[in-house]
């Protein structure tokens, strides 16, 4: 157990994540320019999507592929449902709905870090899971809004009807989902020769770019932790202890559900681990952007701080080796 744990922690990407956290701790002015960070994340989605598509082109899309993809989408809708009812007891309705949607959705970079962990360990995983990742982004947003609409007090000041049009559009066509699915389609159409042409950009530099991206993530997560610590925002009192507990418990609960169901379906170890990681991960780009538009009543200092400053570091530092170990036992 500790073997996998240590080898994860000492992999270059994870160490650069620590370096980012340390930079904020010592108040260094090290900073990756914003447009570069956004482009590095687009590059990672472009590369993982293209590779997933090319892998799909050569693998026979057997029955269990569709089962797993279906399972992934069901998870993305199911997780917000039970999470909302747990969260509602301690958080306001808007916050509970936003957190539920955030944890029902996924973090592409957590998936990518887990995938490169498996590659380093020489464990096989199937390309279609990249499609699973893309498909899990949207259902959670829709279920979250349904719950908010259903349970919000009518006395809300601005009794505003939910704009379902913009919400559905934002959920299905936000930049990240569109780029992953688009790159997968192109990787699938051009197949191995296509991949060969662009290999020098999507294969070799992948891990190095991941290091630089996680350095930035460490800085951004560190800043959020510092804000959380100083309970930054002037007016609203944040239920800090409750947020920390929820941000650590939810990934384990959601991951556990996926682990049990996935093992029941007889998924191989690598695929089972990645499915668990998807269930256990929480979105910090796509869902918060959707919430800004559709659910402004929810305070990002709760759901974004939880997913970015607590759940993301927990998942890549401790979650990945833990889920890997459990998946190997259960598969």
């Amino acid at each position: 157990m500790t073997g996998a744990f240590l080898s994860n922690l000492s992999s270059p990407p994870l160490l650069f994540f620590f370096l980012g956290l340390l930079a904020v701790l010592v108040r260094s002015d090290l900073d990756i320019p914003g447009q570069i960070a956004r482009f590095l994340s687009l590059y990672l989605l472009f590369a993982i999507g293209f590779k997933g598509g090319a892998a799909l082109a050569v693998s026979d899309l057997g029955g269990d592929v569709w089962i797993s993809l279906g399972l992934a989408m069901v998870m993305s809708a199911l997780v917000p449902l039970y999470s909302f009812f747990i969260l509602r007891r301690r958080f306001s309705v808007p916050d509970a709905a936003a957190i539920a949607a955030t944890y029902g959705s996924v973090s592409a970079v957590t998936f990518i870090t887990a995938a490169s962990f498996l590659d380093a360990q020489g464990v096989e995983w199937s390309g279609y899971l990249v499609a699973g990742m893309a498909l899990m982004e949207s259902p959670a947003i829709i279920v979250g809004m349904l719950l908010y609409n259903r349970f919000r007090q009518n006395g809300n000041a601005n009794n505003r009807d939910v704009r379902w049009g913009t919400l559905l559009h934002e959920a299905c066509f936000n930049g990240s989902v569109f780029l992953i699915l688009g790159s997968m389609a192109i990787g699938w159409i051009t197949g191995p020769e296509g991949k060969q042409q662009v290999a020098a950009v999507i294969e070799a530099p992948f891990l190095g770019v991941l290091c630089l991206f996680l350095l930035d993530m460490g800085i951004v997560a560190g800043r959020r932790l510092r804000d959380l610590y100083a309970q930054g925002s002037k007016a609203t009192r944040l239920p800090l202890p409750m947020m920390v507990v929820a941000a650590l418990v939810l990934p384990l609960v959601n991951g556990g559900v996926a682990l049990v169901v996935g093992a029941g379906l007889g998924l191989p170890a690598g695929d089972l681990m990645l499915l668990t990681v998807l269930a256990a991960s929480a979105s910090y780009i796509a869902v918060p952007a959707a919430m800004r538009l559709a659910l402004p009543e929810a305070n990002p200092s709760t759901y974004l701080a939880m997913s970015l400053a607590i759940t993301f570091p927990f998942n890549i530092l401790f979650g990945i080796p833990l889920y890997h170990q459990l998946a190997t036992w259960l598969a």
């Binding site: 914003g34 960070a37 800043r223 910090y284 780009i285 796509a286 918060p288 952007a289 538009l293 009543e297």
Partner: protein, 98 residues
């Protein structure tokens, strides 16, 4: 030079498109948009240019010599500000006619 008003609006970057649609619907004469702007207010710090999906503001500058349109814009913008925070300032200015 014509006596006019200058309207400054700060809102969240994700709402920029909706604000532009509103301004055009209320036939504002035009607008100038400074994107990716930082800030701090009741809703905490907004560090522009960061990865996470919520951290930038944008600043609209609108010159308008028709007081009636100015009034309609401030009224039209109010619900957006109530929902997602931000500020709207109106000040006097002289507009160079060219």
């Amino acid at each position: 030079m014509k006596h006019s008003k200058r309207i400054e609006i700060v809102i969240e970057q994700p709402l920029a498109d909706r604000m532009i649609a509103t301004l055009k619907k209320l036939n504002a004469p035009g607008y100038t948009l400074v994107r990716n702007v930082g800030g701090w207010g009741d809703r905490g710090t907004r560090r522009a240019d960061e990865l996470a999906g919520d951290t930038s503001n944008c600043l609209f500058l609108i010159a308008c010599d028709d007081p009636e349109i100015v009034q309609r814009i401030t009224a039209g913008v109010q619900p957006l500000l109530t929902r997602s925070g931000g500020i709207c300032l109106v000040s006097d200015c002289l507009w160079l006619q060219h």
